[in-house]
């Protein structure tokens, strides 16, 4: 299955999928998408790269071990919950800061941070599994 065509197309495809995954994650609050779907797309991108270039090369490209990403995601989601402590509302209450920037409306919120956490967990956990299955253990 590792043909020349696939090997040539895979890096571009992976890059597109990773960018698209972030897009899907960010637009999720208003359009179909969100952290979970985005994370799955991102993980698929990493898996495609891994199949074409090998697990070791993928690990080098990722720089951090993917399980670190998953751990970071849980931490981000938890932080999103604890922000509400500062304003004395219940854990995980959504807080919004909406402002104008050069004519565009920017909405920052704790649900957004939470969704980024979900994304990171899904990307991290699934690519951990895929890479571990694909590569030699010594590479970890």
């Amino acid at each position: 299955m590792n043909t020349v065509i696939f090997r040539t197309a895979a890096p571009a495809l992976s890059a597109l999928m990773l960018v698209f995954s972030v897009f899907v994650m960010l637009r999720g609050h208003n359009e179909p998408g969100g952290g979970f779907i985005g994370g799955l797309i991102g993980a698929s991108g990493i898996a495609i790269y891994s199949i074409s270039a090998g697990a070791a090369a993928t690990r080098r490209a990722l720089r951090v071990h993917p399980i670190t990403l998953a751990g970071l995601g849980v931490v981000l989601a938890a932080i999103a919950g604890f922000v509400s402590l500062a304003t004395e509302v219940p854990f995980l209450t959504g807080l919004w800061w909406i402002f104008e920037f050069e004519g565009a409306e920017i909405a920052l919120s704790t649900p957004l941070l939470f969704d980024i956490g979900v994304y990171a967990v899904v990307v991290g956990a699934i690519s951990t599994i895929a890479l571990a299955l694909d590569g030699e253990e010594g590479d970890d």
Binding site: P32, G33, G34, A47, A77, G81, V118, A125, T128, D140
Partner: protein, 757 residues
């Protein structure tokens, strides 16, 4: 030295308790507390009345001397610091227990005493016997604690009060309730386990594995008295019924006789004392069971007397052990020259234990006999039990006070020497108090007996205990019979011991051995269950998992006869039929595929077709997710296959194929039927309406599915992503673990499927 400094803590607590004497003597209870779980009306609250004050004073007062004694006894021990911290933790738990008002506060401290006594009994944890005794005590008293919790919650439901003071205020309500008997039995079971009443008595003598200061403390004023405290406390709430009377008196009586007789059989000083503690606890439980004014006063007096003399005698036994290297009463002789102060302390306490006049033990015995000399039949029987039990305990008291000190000295492992000041301070002070307290009966009546008696009896008690030796009083004759019997037994103590030993060997079974048998049975049972369920064969795990799933899906529907009616034939457009057709083709290919890879890809096709169906019916989020999950499933399953070096084809025996197929069809049918049932019920739209109404204006999101995930139900999602992260970690660990690579794979792929579903 450490002992003297640390003793300041309990001494200060004792002094604080003394300052409460004034208000408590006027029968006003002092209350304090904090809100703990206000939503359930649970408070972290305490109250002090006559009963808790007596207990609190005993715990802190005797605790002061025990701490001083521990300093001398464990001088130079490498873990002395740990010992003191356990000891003070235990003391704190015990004080909390007797002062607690709210029943949950009570329960927390009750369990804390079990845990801290576990630490203390197992302090010498390098010895197997100590570990066993600690675990035994924890299991028995901890198990009793659970029964107690259930009983207290039932009482709360019956009376509507979750504090002891509230229950006492509504005394008499519980006895009328239909659930009274169950609640009472649960509370009594908890108290019996803690106070080592028959048939839970076996843990207490084993607890002698603890260092002597612990035995002295646990057995005199604390741990084992907790059950007695609870029964006394609950007497107004649960007492006054026939069931209460008979259970407490009969089991108390059996424990009294058992403890008294078994004490005579022992040769070890600590073991002898331990069995008399059993007897004393039985006696106290019996007296509470009678519940008359005299019995209650006798119980309070005996409680104080016992704490004083038993604490002192245990410390004496420890000092003898410390000074000579042995506790065997058949070896120890003639120590009066070498250990004069200890001898005096032992005499004073033995005197009180034997109940000779002017000692507080004499007052206690007279008062309890007074309660039983009415001359009607059950009273006479119990009087006889009491006389025999008291005689046995008197023998032990005299044996320990006289036998090791009189006669010609015999060789012992160490050359006998007197203990240091910290070793004899406690026994001497407690021994002297036990004697002189009998002289201050007015003070005792006013400060101790009347308030504490009123708490137990639930009515004003005017204690009139005084020192008298009136031969016209039948109670005095009961005492005289006790002395006569005791002295006769004392004279033939060695013969009695040998005879009892032969009887014991003849029976050959003890409750202690029964406990071991039960524990080993439990371990074997656990082992068997584990082997049955955890056999290590992955395909059977999966089969069991799906079989259980099928049963739990189908059984409720069939039993409750809520099978759905057959739905109408769906009206679909041609492209919708197309998607259904692709799904069906994928499914047929999976089942019929020769090679695993074909099956995996075909499964993916079937999943894609389902995703298309989701899309066509207006669930884009679900559809996207399904697409991605299917893609990743195919990739990962293919990787698993190569990783595991599985054969290209999946060969199954016909039987296995039928078995697996049946389970698969059952699960599929179950889910289908369940979904049909759900569709045929009226959908409650209130949540949907809430989400529609609030999603955009309040949660700033038009995609309700996503808003539900990250806002409305964010805490669910937080839990889920934690699970995903942990699962990734676990799979990583399993794959890295080369020895058993098989176990890592299949559960993960099923998890993905569930997520997709």
């Amino acid at each position: 030295m450490a002992g003297w400094i640390l003793a300041i803590v309990p001494a200060a607590i004792f002094a604080t308790f003394l300052s409460f004497i004034g208000p408590v003597s006027d029968l006003t209870a002092i209350q304090a507390g904090l809100d703990w779980i206000p939503a359930y009306g649970i408070r972290f609250s305490f109250f002090i009345d006559g009963l808790s004050l007596v207990f609190g004073a005993l715990i802190s007062g005797i605790g002061t001397f025990i701490i001083i004694y521990s300093g001398g006894y464990l001088a130079g021990h490498p873990h002395q610091g740990r010992f003191f911290s356990y000891m003070l933790m235990f003391m704190g738990s015990m004080l909390g227990l007797v002062l607690a008002d709210n029943i949950f506060t009570l329960f927390v401290f009750w369990e804390l005493t079990s845990i801290t006594s576990f630490l203390l009994i197992g302090f010498d944890h390098s010895r197997q016997a100590a570990r066993r005794a600690a675990i035994q005590a924890l299991i028995v008293t901890g198990g009793g604690g659970l029964a107690l919790l259930a009983g207290l919650i039932m009482l709360t439901l019956i009376t509507g009060q979750n504090s002891l003071s509230g229950m006492l205020a509504s005394a008499g309500v519980a006895q009328q309730s239909g659930a009274y008997l169950v609640a009472m039995l649960l509370v009594v079971a908890g108290a019996f386990a803690k106070s080592a009443q028959f048939p839970f008595h076996f843990w207490l003598p084993n607890a002698m594995e603890a260092p002597t200061p612990v035995s002295a403390y646990l057995h005199s004023a604390t741990m084992v008295k907790a059950g007695v405290y609870l029964l006394a406390r609950m007497n107004p709430v649960l007492g006054g019924t026939q069931a209460w009377f008979w259970i407490l008196t009969v089991f108390g009586g059996i424990t009294l006789l058992l403890g008294g007789v078994l004490a005579l059989r022992q040769t070890d000083l600590k073991q002898k004392l331990a069995y008399t503690t059993l007897g004393s606890l039985g006696l106290l439980v019996m007296l509470i069971g009678f519940g008359t004014k005299e019995a209650v006063l006798g119980a309070v007096l005996y409680l104080c007397a016992h704490s004083l003399f038993k604490g002192a005698l245990f410390m004496v036994a420890g000092t003898i052990d410390h000074g000579t290297g042995t506790r065997d009463i058949t070896v120890l002789r003639g120590l009066r020259e070498a250990m004069p102060v200890t001898f005096i302390a032992a005499l004073l306490s033995g005197f009180s234990m034997a109940g000779f006049p002017i000692a507080i033990g004499f007052l206690a015995k007279e008062e309890m006999y007074l309660a039983l000399t009415s001359g009607v039949w059950p009273d006479l029987l119990f009087l006889a039990v009491m006389v025999v039990g008291n005689a046995c305990m008197m023998v032990v008291g005299l044996l320990i006070a006289l036998r090791p000190f009189l006669g010609e000295p015999r060789p012992t492992p160490h050359v006998p020497h007197e203990g240091s000041v910290s070793l004899f301070a406690g026994p001497v002070v407690l021994g002297v108090l036990g004697i002189v307290a009998g002289l201050f009966t007015d003070w005792l009546n006013r400060v101790v007996l009347s308030p504490a008696g009123a708490s137990i009896y639930d009515g004003a008690v005017d204690a009139q205990v005084h020192l008298a030796f009136d031969l016209l009083n039948p109670a005095i004759w009961a005492s005289i019979v006790t002395w006569a019997l005791g002295i006769a037994l004392f004279w033939h103590a060695d013969n009695v011991r040998l005879a009892l030993r032969r009887v014991g060997e003849g029976i050959g079974w003890t409750f202690d051995a029964g406990f071991d048998a039960a524990m080993f049975g439990l371990i074997r049972f656990g082992d068997r269950v584990t082997r049955l369920l955890h056999h290590g064969r992955l395909e059977l795990y999966l089969l069991l998992f799906f079989a259980v799933l099928a049963v739990s899906l189908l059984a409720p529907l069939i039993v409750s006869n809520s099978l759905p009616s057959l739905p109408d034939w769906p009206v679909l457009t041609f492209y919708e039929w197309g998607a259904v057709l692709i799904a069906a083709i994928g499914l047929i290919t999976v089942v019929g595929a020769r090679s695993r890879l074909t099956a995996i890809v075909a499964l993916g096709i079937q999943g894609f077709a389902v995703a298309v169906i989701f899309m066509l019916f207006g669930a884009p989020d679900l559809s996207f997710t399904q697409f991605m999950v299917e893609t990743l499933s195919v990739i990962i399953l293919a990787l698993v296959m190569t990783r595991l070096h599985l054969g290209k084809a999946d060969h199954r025996e016909l039987e296995a194929a039928i078995r697996d197929g049946t389970v698969a069809i059952a699960v599929g049918a179950g889910i289908t039927i369940l979904l049909l049932v759900v569709l045929q019920t009226d959908l409650d739209l209130s949540l949907t309406e809430l989400f529609q109404a609030t999603s955009t204006p309040i949660a700033h999101g038009r995609n309700i599915v996503n808003v539900i995930l990250v806002d409305y139900r964010a805490i669910d999602t937080l839990g889920e992503i934690s699970v995903v992260m942990a699962a990734g970690l676990a799979i990583l660990a399993l794959i890295r673990h080369r020895a058993k690579p098989e176990s890592a794979k299949k559960p993960r792929s099923t998890r993905r499927k569930e997520k997709a579903a």
